[in-house]
Symmetry: D2
Subunit: 158 residues, 4 copies
Protein backbone atom coordinates (compact mmCIF):
# COMPACT_ATOMS: atom_id res chain seq x y z
CA UNK A 1 0.00 0.00 0.00
CA UNK A 2 1.34 3.44 -0.99
CA UNK A 3 0.03 6.69 0.54
CA UNK A 4 1.53 10.20 0.67
CA UNK A 5 4.87 8.80 -0.46
CA UNK A 6 4.86 6.15 2.30
CA UNK A 7 4.70 2.45 1.46
CA UNK A 8 3.36 0.01 4.07
CA UNK A 9 4.37 -3.66 4.54
CA UNK A 10 3.09 -6.07 7.19
CA UNK A 11 5.45 -8.38 9.07
CA UNK A 12 4.59 -11.13 11.53
CA UNK A 13 7.11 -11.25 14.43
CA UNK A 14 8.82 -14.65 14.47
CA UNK A 15 9.76 -16.52 17.65
CA UNK A 16 13.33 -16.35 16.31
CA UNK A 17 13.14 -12.52 16.29
CA UNK A 18 12.49 -12.27 20.04
CA UNK A 19 15.10 -12.30 22.80
CA UNK A 20 15.03 -13.25 26.47
CA UNK A 21 13.31 -9.92 27.30
CA UNK A 22 10.31 -11.38 25.43
CA UNK A 23 10.43 -8.66 22.76
CA UNK A 24 12.03 -8.16 19.35
CA UNK A 25 15.85 -7.97 19.62
CA UNK A 26 16.97 -4.40 18.82
CA UNK A 27 19.20 -5.40 15.90
CA UNK A 28 16.33 -7.20 14.14
CA UNK A 29 14.63 -3.89 13.34
CA UNK A 30 17.34 -3.40 10.71
CA UNK A 31 16.03 -6.58 9.08
CA UNK A 32 12.51 -5.11 9.22
CA UNK A 33 13.89 -1.95 7.58
CA UNK A 34 15.39 -4.20 4.86
CA UNK A 35 11.97 -5.80 4.24
CA UNK A 36 10.32 -2.37 4.20
CA UNK A 37 12.60 -0.98 1.48
CA UNK A 38 12.58 -4.24 -0.52
CA UNK A 39 8.76 -4.18 -0.69
CA UNK A 40 8.78 -0.44 -1.44
CA UNK A 41 11.14 -1.05 -4.40
CA UNK A 42 8.99 -3.96 -5.59
CA UNK A 43 5.88 -1.72 -5.43
CA UNK A 44 7.75 0.79 -7.62
CA UNK A 45 8.40 -1.94 -10.19
CA UNK A 46 12.11 -2.23 -9.41
CA UNK A 47 12.61 -5.24 -7.12
CA UNK A 48 15.98 -5.05 -5.39
CA UNK A 49 16.84 -8.55 -6.66
CA UNK A 50 16.48 -7.38 -10.29
CA UNK A 51 18.66 -4.34 -9.52
CA UNK A 52 21.38 -6.69 -8.26
CA UNK A 53 21.01 -8.96 -11.29
CA UNK A 54 21.79 -5.87 -13.43
CA UNK A 55 25.06 -5.46 -11.53
CA UNK A 56 24.02 -2.67 -9.16
CA UNK A 57 24.01 -2.77 -5.40
CA UNK A 58 22.80 -0.28 -2.78
CA UNK A 59 25.52 -0.39 -0.12
CA UNK A 60 24.42 0.83 3.34
CA UNK A 61 26.53 3.70 4.63
CA UNK A 62 24.45 4.69 7.66
CA UNK A 63 21.67 3.17 9.76
CA UNK A 64 19.82 4.83 12.63
CA UNK A 65 17.05 3.46 14.84
CA UNK A 66 15.18 5.14 17.69
CA UNK A 67 13.26 2.81 19.98
CA UNK A 68 9.96 4.11 21.36
CA UNK A 69 8.12 0.94 22.47
CA UNK A 70 8.48 -2.83 22.46
CA UNK A 71 6.54 -5.60 20.79
CA UNK A 72 6.56 -9.39 21.25
CA UNK A 73 6.08 -12.71 19.51
CA UNK A 74 3.37 -13.11 16.86
CA UNK A 75 2.59 -9.38 16.68
CA UNK A 76 1.55 -8.24 13.23
CA UNK A 77 3.52 -5.03 12.80
CA UNK A 78 3.67 -2.53 9.95
CA UNK A 79 6.79 -1.04 8.40
CA UNK A 80 6.19 2.27 6.66
CA UNK A 81 8.95 3.29 4.22
CA UNK A 82 9.57 6.52 2.29
CA UNK A 83 12.42 7.89 0.18
CA UNK A 84 13.26 11.18 1.88
CA UNK A 85 16.41 12.20 0.02
CA UNK A 86 17.57 11.26 -3.46
CA UNK A 87 20.85 12.13 -5.20
CA UNK A 88 22.57 10.79 -8.30
CA UNK A 89 24.46 8.05 -6.47
CA UNK A 90 22.77 8.10 -3.08
CA UNK A 91 19.35 7.46 -1.57
CA UNK A 92 17.91 7.75 1.92
CA UNK A 93 14.99 5.66 3.19
CA UNK A 94 13.02 6.58 6.30
CA UNK A 95 11.08 4.01 8.31
CA UNK A 96 8.30 3.94 10.88
CA UNK A 97 7.57 0.60 12.55
CA UNK A 98 4.07 0.58 14.03
CA UNK A 99 2.10 -1.93 16.12
CA UNK A 100 -1.36 -3.29 15.27
CA UNK A 101 -2.73 -0.78 17.80
CA UNK A 102 -1.04 2.04 15.79
CA UNK A 103 1.61 2.53 18.49
CA UNK A 104 4.94 3.86 17.25
CA UNK A 105 7.59 1.23 17.98
CA UNK A 106 10.74 2.23 16.12
CA UNK A 107 11.64 5.02 13.71
CA UNK A 108 14.83 5.36 11.74
CA UNK A 109 16.55 5.71 8.43
CA UNK A 110 19.24 4.18 6.24
CA UNK A 111 21.48 5.85 3.66
CA UNK A 112 22.69 3.88 0.63
CA UNK A 113 25.34 4.46 -2.02
CA UNK A 114 24.66 3.01 -5.46
CA UNK A 115 27.60 0.88 -6.61
CA UNK A 116 28.35 -1.05 -9.79
CA UNK A 117 29.59 -4.64 -9.98
CA UNK A 118 33.17 -3.44 -9.27
CA UNK A 119 31.90 -1.73 -6.08
CA UNK A 120 32.59 1.73 -7.53
CA UNK A 121 30.00 4.54 -7.10
CA UNK A 122 27.53 4.45 -9.99
CA UNK A 123 24.55 6.57 -10.99
CA UNK A 124 21.19 5.07 -10.07
CA UNK A 125 19.71 3.63 -13.35
CA UNK A 126 17.65 6.40 -15.07
CA UNK A 127 14.27 4.60 -15.24
CA UNK A 128 14.45 3.72 -11.56
CA UNK A 129 15.63 7.25 -10.74
CA UNK A 130 12.63 8.77 -12.52
CA UNK A 131 10.11 6.64 -10.59
CA UNK A 132 11.86 7.21 -7.26
CA UNK A 133 11.85 10.96 -7.89
CA UNK A 134 8.08 11.00 -8.28
CA UNK A 135 7.52 9.28 -4.95
CA UNK A 136 10.15 11.38 -3.19
CA UNK A 137 8.40 14.50 -4.47
CA UNK A 138 5.05 13.27 -3.10
CA UNK A 139 6.68 12.56 0.27
CA UNK A 140 8.35 16.00 0.43
CA UNK A 141 5.20 17.78 -0.72
CA UNK A 142 3.13 16.27 2.09
CA UNK A 143 5.86 16.47 4.75
CA UNK A 144 7.11 20.03 3.99
CA UNK A 145 4.47 21.68 1.72
CA UNK A 146 5.53 25.29 2.34
CA UNK A 147 9.23 24.58 1.73
CA UNK A 148 8.51 22.98 -1.61
CA UNK A 149 6.51 25.96 -2.85
CA UNK A 150 9.01 28.53 -1.57
CA UNK A 151 11.73 26.61 -3.41
CA UNK A 152 9.69 26.55 -6.59
CA UNK A 153 9.09 30.30 -6.27
CA UNK A 154 12.78 30.95 -5.84
CA UNK A 155 13.58 28.75 -8.76
CA UNK A 156 11.05 30.48 -11.00
CA UNK A 157 12.46 33.88 -10.07
CA UNK A 158 9.27 35.41 -8.60
CA UNK B 1 41.94 -5.21 27.13
CA UNK B 2 41.25 -1.69 28.44
CA UNK B 3 43.16 1.37 27.21
CA UNK B 4 42.34 5.10 27.40
CA UNK B 5 38.78 4.27 28.40
CA UNK B 6 38.30 1.90 25.43
CA UNK B 7 37.76 -1.82 25.94
CA UNK B 8 38.65 -4.22 23.11
CA UNK B 9 36.98 -7.57 22.32
CA UNK B 10 37.80 -9.93 19.46
CA UNK B 11 35.06 -11.58 17.40
CA UNK B 12 35.41 -14.21 14.68
CA UNK B 13 32.92 -13.59 11.81
CA UNK B 14 30.59 -16.58 11.48
CA UNK B 15 29.34 -17.95 8.15
CA UNK B 16 25.87 -17.23 9.53
CA UNK B 17 26.78 -13.53 9.90
CA UNK B 18 27.51 -13.07 6.18
CA UNK B 19 24.96 -12.37 3.44
CA UNK B 20 24.89 -12.97 -0.32
CA UNK B 21 27.22 -9.95 -0.83
CA UNK B 22 29.85 -12.13 0.87
CA UNK B 23 30.23 -9.69 3.77
CA UNK B 24 28.72 -9.19 7.24
CA UNK B 25 25.00 -8.26 7.00
CA UNK B 26 24.58 -4.65 8.14
CA UNK B 27 22.18 -5.47 10.98
CA UNK B 28 24.63 -7.92 12.55
CA UNK B 29 26.92 -5.09 13.63
CA UNK B 30 24.32 -4.33 16.31
CA UNK B 31 25.00 -7.83 17.62
CA UNK B 32 28.74 -7.04 17.59
CA UNK B 33 27.97 -3.83 19.52
CA UNK B 34 26.05 -6.01 22.04
CA UNK B 35 29.09 -8.25 22.49
CA UNK B 36 31.36 -5.21 22.83
CA UNK B 37 29.37 -3.67 25.66
CA UNK B 38 28.76 -7.06 27.37
CA UNK B 39 32.51 -7.74 27.51
CA UNK B 40 33.20 -4.14 28.60
CA UNK B 41 30.75 -4.55 31.50
CA UNK B 42 32.30 -7.91 32.42
CA UNK B 43 35.77 -6.29 32.43
CA UNK B 44 34.41 -3.67 34.85
CA UNK B 45 33.23 -6.44 37.18
CA UNK B 46 29.53 -5.96 36.42
CA UNK B 47 28.49 -8.60 33.86
CA UNK B 48 25.23 -7.62 32.19
CA UNK B 49 23.71 -10.99 33.13
CA UNK B 50 24.25 -10.26 36.84
CA UNK B 51 22.68 -6.81 36.38
CA UNK B 52 19.58 -8.48 34.93
CA UNK B 53 19.51 -11.04 37.73
CA UNK B 54 19.31 -8.09 40.18
CA UNK B 55 16.19 -6.88 38.35
CA UNK B 56 17.76 -4.14 36.22
CA UNK B 57 17.78 -3.90 32.47
CA UNK B 58 19.46 -1.45 30.07
CA UNK B 59 16.79 -0.80 27.45
CA UNK B 60 18.13 0.49 24.11
CA UNK B 61 16.60 3.82 23.10
CA UNK B 62 18.85 4.64 20.15
CA UNK B 63 21.31 2.83 17.89
CA UNK B 64 23.47 4.37 15.17
CA UNK B 65 25.95 2.72 12.83
CA UNK B 66 28.13 4.25 10.12
CA UNK B 67 29.59 1.81 7.61
CA UNK B 68 33.09 2.58 6.32
CA UNK B 69 34.31 -0.76 4.91
CA UNK B 70 33.24 -4.39 4.60
CA UNK B 71 34.60 -7.61 5.98
CA UNK B 72 33.87 -11.25 5.18
CA UNK B 73 33.70 -14.76 6.62
CA UNK B 74 36.28 -15.91 9.19
CA UNK B 75 37.74 -12.43 9.69
CA UNK B 76 38.94 -11.81 13.24
CA UNK B 77 37.60 -8.35 13.97
CA UNK B 78 37.92 -6.13 17.03
CA UNK B 79 35.12 -4.21 18.74
CA UNK B 80 36.32 -1.25 20.77
CA UNK B 81 33.79 0.06 23.31
CA UNK B 82 33.77 3.16 25.52
CA UNK B 83 31.22 4.87 27.77
CA UNK B 84 31.01 8.39 26.39
CA UNK B 85 28.10 9.80 28.35
CA UNK B 86 26.76 8.78 31.75
CA UNK B 87 23.68 10.08 33.58
CA UNK B 88 21.72 8.84 36.58
CA UNK B 89 19.35 6.67 34.54
CA UNK B 90 21.06 6.71 31.15
CA UNK B 91 24.30 5.58 29.55
CA UNK B 92 25.80 5.90 26.08
CA UNK B 93 28.29 3.44 24.61
CA UNK B 94 30.42 4.24 21.55
CA UNK B 95 31.86 1.53 19.31
CA UNK B 96 34.60 1.17 16.72
CA UNK B 97 34.70 -2.09 14.76
CA UNK B 98 38.15 -2.63 13.27
CA UNK B 99 39.62 -5.29 10.95
CA UNK B 100 42.75 -7.35 11.63
CA UNK B 101 44.60 -4.93 9.32
CA UNK B 102 43.46 -2.03 11.58
CA UNK B 103 40.98 -0.80 8.97
CA UNK B 104 37.94 1.02 10.36
CA UNK B 105 34.84 -1.00 9.41
CA UNK B 106 31.92 0.41 11.39
CA UNK B 107 31.54 3.09 14.04
CA UNK B 108 28.45 3.87 16.06
CA UNK B 109 26.80 4.24 19.42
CA UNK B 110 23.86 3.04 21.47
CA UNK B 111 21.95 4.87 24.20
CA UNK B 112 20.36 2.89 27.05
CA UNK B 113 17.86 3.72 29.77
CA UNK B 114 18.24 1.88 33.06
CA UNK B 115 14.93 0.25 34.04
CA UNK B 116 13.79 -1.78 37.04
CA UNK B 117 11.90 -5.07 36.92
CA UNK B 118 8.61 -3.17 36.35
CA UNK B 119 10.22 -1.45 33.31
CA UNK B 120 10.19 1.93 35.06
CA UNK B 121 13.27 4.22 34.87
CA UNK B 122 15.64 3.42 37.73
CA UNK B 123 18.95 4.84 38.90
CA UNK B 124 21.98 2.80 37.83
CA UNK B 125 23.13 0.84 40.94
CA UNK B 126 25.67 3.02 42.88
CA UNK B 127 28.64 0.60 42.87
CA UNK B 128 28.33 0.10 39.10
CA UNK B 129 27.86 3.86 38.62
CA UNK B 130 31.06 4.60 40.49
CA UNK B 131 33.14 2.23 38.37
CA UNK B 132 31.58 3.42 35.10
CA UNK B 133 32.28 7.04 36.08
CA UNK B 134 35.97 6.32 36.43
CA UNK B 135 36.23 4.82 32.95
CA UNK B 136 34.06 7.54 31.41
CA UNK B 137 36.37 10.14 32.97
CA UNK B 138 39.44 8.43 31.47
CA UNK B 139 37.73 8.36 28.06
CA UNK B 140 36.75 12.04 28.22
CA UNK B 141 40.17 13.08 29.50
CA UNK B 142 41.92 11.44 26.54
CA UNK B 143 39.30 12.42 23.94
CA UNK B 144 38.77 16.04 25.03
CA UNK B 145 41.63 16.96 27.38
CA UNK B 146 41.28 20.74 27.08
CA UNK B 147 37.52 20.68 27.63
CA UNK B 148 37.88 18.71 30.81
CA UNK B 149 40.40 21.14 32.25
CA UNK B 150 38.46 24.24 31.20
CA UNK B 151 35.39 22.74 32.87
CA UNK B 152 37.35 22.07 36.05
CA UNK B 153 38.67 25.62 36.00
CA UNK B 154 35.17 27.00 35.62
CA UNK B 155 33.88 24.76 38.34
CA UNK B 156 36.66 25.79 40.71
CA UNK B 157 36.01 29.46 40.01
CA UNK B 158 39.48 30.33 38.70
CA UNK C 1 -4.27 -23.42 2.76
CA UNK C 2 -4.98 -26.93 4.08
CA UNK C 3 -5.04 -30.00 1.83
CA UNK C 4 -4.78 -33.72 2.64
CA UNK C 5 -3.62 -32.86 6.15
CA UNK C 6 -0.87 -30.54 4.85
CA UNK C 7 -0.97 -26.80 5.55
CA UNK C 8 0.89 -24.43 3.21
CA UNK C 9 2.51 -21.08 4.12
CA UNK C 10 4.42 -18.76 1.81
CA UNK C 11 7.67 -17.11 2.91
CA UNK C 12 9.73 -14.49 1.08
CA UNK C 13 13.49 -15.12 1.53
CA UNK C 14 15.10 -12.11 3.23
CA UNK C 15 18.55 -10.78 2.40
CA UNK C 16 19.36 -11.48 6.06
CA UNK C 17 18.53 -15.18 5.54
CA UNK C 18 21.20 -15.68 2.85
CA UNK C 19 24.88 -16.39 3.42
CA UNK C 20 28.02 -15.82 1.37
CA UNK C 21 27.15 -18.84 -0.82
CA UNK C 22 24.26 -16.67 -2.06
CA UNK C 23 21.63 -19.09 -0.72
CA UNK C 24 19.61 -19.54 2.48
CA UNK C 25 21.88 -20.45 5.43
CA UNK C 26 21.18 -24.06 6.43
CA UNK C 27 20.19 -23.22 10.01
CA UNK C 28 17.52 -20.75 8.85
CA UNK C 29 15.33 -23.58 7.58
CA UNK C 30 14.57 -24.31 11.25
CA UNK C 31 13.10 -20.80 11.40
CA UNK C 32 11.03 -21.59 8.29
CA UNK C 33 9.86 -24.80 10.04
CA UNK C 34 8.86 -22.59 13.03
CA UNK C 35 6.79 -20.36 10.74
CA UNK C 36 5.22 -23.40 9.08
CA UNK C 37 4.00 -24.90 12.34
CA UNK C 38 2.94 -21.50 13.76
CA UNK C 39 0.71 -20.84 10.73
CA UNK C 40 -0.59 -24.43 10.81
CA UNK C 41 -1.60 -23.98 14.46
CA UNK C 42 -3.21 -20.63 13.67
CA UNK C 43 -5.19 -22.26 10.82
CA UNK C 44 -6.43 -24.85 13.33
CA UNK C 45 -7.68 -22.05 15.59
CA UNK C 46 -4.98 -22.51 18.21
CA UNK C 47 -2.26 -19.89 17.62
CA UNK C 48 0.94 -20.88 19.39
CA UNK C 49 1.04 -17.50 21.14
CA UNK C 50 -2.35 -18.20 22.80
CA UNK C 51 -1.10 -21.66 23.85
CA UNK C 52 1.86 -19.98 25.59
CA UNK C 53 -0.39 -17.39 27.20
CA UNK C 54 -2.31 -20.33 28.78
CA UNK C 55 0.97 -21.52 30.33
CA UNK C 56 1.81 -24.30 27.88
CA UNK C 57 4.89 -24.58 25.75
CA UNK C 58 5.91 -27.07 23.04
CA UNK C 59 9.58 -27.72 23.77
CA UNK C 60 11.58 -29.04 20.80
CA UNK C 61 13.26 -32.37 21.52
CA UNK C 62 14.43 -33.23 18.00
CA UNK C 63 14.91 -31.44 14.68
CA UNK C 64 15.95 -33.01 11.39
CA UNK C 65 16.51 -31.38 8.01
CA UNK C 66 17.51 -32.96 4.69
CA UNK C 67 18.79 -30.55 2.06
CA UNK C 68 17.88 -31.35 -1.56
CA UNK C 69 18.36 -28.03 -3.40
CA UNK C 70 19.25 -24.39 -2.73
CA UNK C 71 17.35 -21.15 -3.09
CA UNK C 72 18.44 -17.53 -2.97
CA UNK C 73 17.35 -14.00 -2.05
CA UNK C 74 13.79 -12.84 -2.74
CA UNK C 75 12.54 -16.34 -3.64
CA UNK C 76 8.93 -16.93 -2.65
CA UNK C 77 9.07 -20.38 -1.09
CA UNK C 78 6.35 -22.58 0.39
CA UNK C 79 6.50 -24.47 3.67
CA UNK C 80 4.13 -27.43 3.85
CA UNK C 81 3.45 -28.68 7.38
CA UNK C 82 1.61 -31.77 8.67
CA UNK C 83 1.17 -33.43 12.06
CA UNK C 84 2.43 -36.96 11.48
CA UNK C 85 2.42 -38.35 15.00
CA UNK C 86 0.37 -37.30 18.01
CA UNK C 87 0.59 -38.56 21.59
CA UNK C 88 -0.78 -37.28 24.90
CA UNK C 89 2.25 -35.13 25.69
CA UNK C 90 4.10 -35.21 22.37
CA UNK C 91 3.59 -34.12 18.78
CA UNK C 92 5.63 -34.48 15.60
CA UNK C 93 5.44 -32.03 12.69
CA UNK C 94 6.77 -32.87 9.22
CA UNK C 95 7.83 -30.18 6.75
CA UNK C 96 8.44 -29.85 3.02
CA UNK C 97 10.02 -26.61 1.80
CA UNK C 98 9.34 -26.09 -1.89
CA UNK C 99 10.44 -23.49 -4.44
CA UNK C 100 8.11 -21.44 -6.67
CA UNK C 101 8.97 -23.89 -9.46
CA UNK C 102 7.73 -26.75 -7.22
CA UNK C 103 11.28 -27.99 -6.63
CA UNK C 104 11.83 -29.78 -3.31
CA UNK C 105 14.36 -27.76 -1.29
CA UNK C 106 14.37 -29.13 2.23
CA UNK C 107 12.36 -31.79 4.06
CA UNK C 108 12.43 -32.53 7.75
CA UNK C 109 10.57 -32.86 11.00
CA UNK C 110 10.53 -31.64 14.58
CA UNK C 111 9.33 -33.44 17.72
CA UNK C 112 7.88 -31.43 20.61
CA UNK C 113 7.04 -32.23 24.23
CA UNK C 114 4.12 -30.35 25.75
CA UNK C 115 5.17 -28.69 29.03
CA UNK C 116 3.36 -26.62 31.64
CA UNK C 117 4.55 -23.32 33.10
CA UNK C 118 6.85 -25.22 35.52
CA UNK C 119 8.44 -26.98 32.50
CA UNK C 120 6.98 -30.35 33.56
CA UNK C 121 5.41 -32.64 30.92
CA UNK C 122 1.71 -31.83 30.54
CA UNK C 123 -1.13 -33.26 28.47
CA UNK C 124 -1.93 -31.26 25.34
CA UNK C 125 -5.13 -29.24 26.12
CA UNK C 126 -8.20 -31.41 25.14
CA UNK C 127 -9.84 -29.01 22.63
CA UNK C 128 -6.55 -28.55 20.78
CA UNK C 129 -5.90 -32.32 20.93
CA UNK C 130 -9.26 -33.06 19.33
CA UNK C 131 -8.67 -30.71 16.40
CA UNK C 132 -5.09 -31.90 15.88
CA UNK C 133 -6.29 -35.53 15.86
CA UNK C 134 -8.68 -34.82 13.00
CA UNK C 135 -5.93 -33.35 10.82
CA UNK C 136 -3.45 -36.06 11.77
CA UNK C 137 -6.05 -38.66 10.76
CA UNK C 138 -6.52 -36.98 7.36
CA UNK C 139 -2.74 -36.92 6.86
CA UNK C 140 -2.34 -40.59 7.79
CA UNK C 141 -5.35 -41.63 5.70
CA UNK C 142 -3.86 -40.04 2.57
CA UNK C 143 -0.24 -41.01 3.27
CA UNK C 144 -0.86 -44.62 4.38
CA UNK C 145 -4.43 -45.53 3.34
CA UNK C 146 -4.03 -49.30 3.52
CA UNK C 147 -2.39 -49.22 6.95
CA UNK C 148 -5.20 -47.17 8.40
CA UNK C 149 -7.86 -49.58 7.16
CA UNK C 150 -5.95 -52.67 8.28
CA UNK C 151 -5.60 -51.08 11.71
CA UNK C 152 -9.32 -50.33 11.81
CA UNK C 153 -10.10 -53.91 10.81
CA UNK C 154 -7.89 -55.24 13.57
CA UNK C 155 -9.39 -52.87 16.05
CA UNK C 156 -12.93 -53.80 15.09
CA UNK C 157 -12.12 -57.51 15.35
CA UNK C 158 -13.00 -58.45 11.74
CA UNK D 1 41.73 -28.68 22.24
CA UNK D 2 41.75 -32.12 20.61
CA UNK D 3 41.22 -35.34 22.58
CA UNK D 4 40.26 -38.86 21.44
CA UNK D 5 39.30 -37.47 18.04
CA UNK D 6 37.06 -34.79 19.55
CA UNK D 7 37.86 -31.11 19.20
CA UNK D 8 36.46 -28.65 21.76
CA UNK D 9 35.51 -24.99 21.16
CA UNK D 10 34.06 -22.57 23.69
CA UNK D 11 31.18 -20.24 22.78
CA UNK D 12 29.63 -17.46 24.86
CA UNK D 13 25.82 -17.34 24.39
CA UNK D 14 24.83 -13.94 22.96
CA UNK D 15 21.68 -12.04 23.95
CA UNK D 16 20.79 -12.26 20.24
CA UNK D 17 20.90 -16.07 20.43
CA UNK D 18 18.16 -16.30 23.08
CA UNK D 19 14.41 -16.25 22.47
CA UNK D 20 11.42 -15.29 24.59
CA UNK D 21 11.69 -18.61 26.51
CA UNK D 22 14.93 -17.12 27.90
CA UNK D 23 17.06 -19.87 26.33
CA UNK D 24 18.98 -20.42 23.09
CA UNK D 25 16.60 -20.62 20.08
CA UNK D 26 16.62 -24.19 18.74
CA UNK D 27 17.79 -23.21 15.24
CA UNK D 28 20.85 -21.42 16.61
CA UNK D 29 22.47 -24.71 17.61
CA UNK D 30 23.10 -25.23 13.88
CA UNK D 31 25.22 -22.07 14.03
CA UNK D 32 27.06 -23.51 17.04
CA UNK D 33 27.64 -26.72 15.00
CA UNK D 34 29.06 -24.49 12.21
CA UNK D 35 31.48 -22.89 14.67
CA UNK D 36 32.43 -26.32 16.05
CA UNK D 37 33.39 -27.73 12.64
CA UNK D 38 35.08 -24.47 11.52
CA UNK D 39 37.36 -24.51 14.58
CA UNK D 40 37.96 -28.27 14.17
CA UNK D 41 39.08 -27.69 10.56
CA UNK D 42 41.30 -24.80 11.64
CA UNK D 43 42.91 -27.00 14.32
CA UNK D 44 43.66 -29.56 11.56
CA UNK D 45 45.44 -26.86 9.55
CA UNK D 46 42.70 -26.57 6.91
CA UNK D 47 40.53 -23.54 7.77
CA UNK D 48 37.21 -23.74 5.95
CA UNK D 49 37.78 -20.25 4.50
CA UNK D 50 40.99 -21.44 2.76
CA UNK D 51 39.12 -24.48 1.41
CA UNK D 52 36.54 -22.14 -0.14
CA UNK D 53 39.27 -19.88 -1.56
CA UNK D 54 40.61 -22.99 -3.36
CA UNK D 55 37.20 -23.42 -5.01
CA UNK D 56 35.81 -26.18 -2.79
CA UNK D 57 32.70 -26.04 -0.67
CA UNK D 58 31.19 -28.52 1.82
CA UNK D 59 27.47 -28.40 1.06
CA UNK D 60 25.24 -29.58 3.93
CA UNK D 61 22.97 -32.47 2.93
CA UNK D 62 21.62 -33.39 6.36
CA UNK D 63 21.45 -31.86 9.84
CA UNK D 64 20.11 -33.49 12.98
CA UNK D 65 19.84 -32.08 16.50
CA UNK D 66 18.53 -33.72 19.67
CA UNK D 67 17.72 -31.36 22.52
CA UNK D 68 18.42 -32.63 26.05
CA UNK D 69 18.57 -29.46 28.16
CA UNK D 70 18.39 -25.67 27.82
CA UNK D 71 20.86 -22.92 28.48
CA UNK D 72 20.47 -19.14 28.67
CA UNK D 73 22.21 -15.82 28.07
CA UNK D 74 25.93 -15.42 28.84
CA UNK D 75 26.49 -19.16 29.41
CA UNK D 76 29.93 -20.33 28.34
CA UNK D 77 29.16 -23.55 26.49
CA UNK D 78 31.42 -26.06 24.79
CA UNK D 79 30.94 -27.59 21.35
CA UNK D 80 32.71 -30.92 20.89
CA UNK D 81 33.17 -31.96 17.25
CA UNK D 82 34.41 -35.22 15.67
CA UNK D 83 34.55 -36.61 12.16
CA UNK D 84 32.66 -39.89 12.42
CA UNK D 85 32.42 -40.94 8.79
CA UNK D 86 34.66 -40.02 5.87
CA UNK D 87 34.25 -40.92 2.19
CA UNK D 88 35.86 -39.62 -1.00
CA UNK D 89 33.31 -36.87 -1.57
CA UNK D 90 31.44 -36.89 1.76
CA UNK D 91 32.11 -36.24 5.42
CA UNK D 92 30.02 -36.49 8.58
CA UNK D 93 30.64 -34.38 11.68
CA UNK D 94 29.16 -35.26 15.08
CA UNK D 95 28.59 -32.65 17.78
CA UNK D 96 28.03 -32.54 21.53
CA UNK D 97 27.08 -29.18 23.04
CA UNK D 98 27.82 -29.15 26.77
CA UNK D 99 27.22 -26.60 29.54
CA UNK D 100 29.86 -25.24 31.92
CA UNK D 101 28.53 -27.72 34.50
CA UNK D 102 29.22 -30.56 32.01
CA UNK D 103 25.50 -31.05 31.33
CA UNK D 104 24.65 -32.40 27.88
CA UNK D 105 22.56 -29.77 26.08
CA UNK D 106 22.33 -30.81 22.44
CA UNK D 107 23.80 -33.61 20.36
CA UNK D 108 23.63 -34.00 16.61
CA UNK D 109 25.42 -34.37 13.34
CA UNK D 110 25.71 -32.88 9.87
CA UNK D 111 26.59 -34.58 6.58
CA UNK D 112 28.42 -32.63 3.86
CA UNK D 113 29.13 -33.26 0.19
CA UNK D 114 32.36 -31.85 -1.21
CA UNK D 115 31.67 -29.73 -4.31
CA UNK D 116 33.87 -27.82 -6.73
CA UNK D 117 33.34 -24.25 -7.90
CA UNK D 118 30.73 -25.48 -10.46
CA UNK D 119 28.82 -27.15 -7.59
CA UNK D 120 29.61 -30.62 -8.93
CA UNK D 121 30.70 -33.41 -6.52
CA UNK D 122 34.48 -33.34 -6.11
CA UNK D 123 36.98 -35.45 -4.20
CA UNK D 124 38.12 -33.92 -0.91
CA UNK D 125 41.66 -32.51 -1.53
CA UNK D 126 44.23 -35.29 -0.77
CA UNK D 127 46.29 -33.46 1.90
CA UNK D 128 43.14 -32.55 3.82
CA UNK D 129 41.78 -36.09 3.36
CA UNK D 130 44.94 -37.59 4.84
CA UNK D 131 44.76 -35.43 7.97
CA UNK D 132 41.03 -35.99 8.41
CA UNK D 133 41.52 -39.77 8.11
CA UNK D 134 43.98 -39.77 10.99
CA UNK D 135 41.54 -38.00 13.33
CA UNK D 136 38.61 -40.11 12.16
CA UNK D 137 40.66 -43.22 12.91
CA UNK D 138 41.42 -41.97 16.44
CA UNK D 139 37.71 -41.24 16.98
CA UNK D 140 36.63 -44.68 15.74
CA UNK D 141 39.37 -46.45 17.70
CA UNK D 142 38.19 -44.88 20.97
CA UNK D 143 34.46 -45.12 20.20
CA UNK D 144 34.40 -48.67 18.79
CA UNK D 145 37.74 -50.29 19.72
CA UNK D 146 36.65 -53.91 19.22
CA UNK D 147 35.11 -53.25 15.79
CA UNK D 148 38.28 -51.65 14.54
CA UNK D 149 40.42 -54.58 15.55
CA UNK D 150 38.01 -57.19 14.17
CA UNK D 151 38.03 -55.32 10.87
CA UNK D 152 41.80 -55.23 10.83
CA UNK D 153 41.92 -58.97 11.53
CA UNK D 154 39.55 -59.64 8.66
CA UNK D 155 41.49 -57.37 6.38
CA UNK D 156 44.80 -59.03 7.23
CA UNK D 157 43.33 -62.48 6.58
CA UNK D 158 43.83 -63.90 10.06
Amino acid sequence: MMENGWHTTKIRVRYKDTDRMGVVYYGNYLTYFEIGRAEYMRALGFPYSSLESKGYTLVVTEAIAKYHANVGYDSLIKVKTAITDLRKVRVRFDYEVISEEEKRLVSGHTVHACMNSKLKPAKIPPDMMKTMEEYTFVYLLVAFPSDIFSNIQEASGI
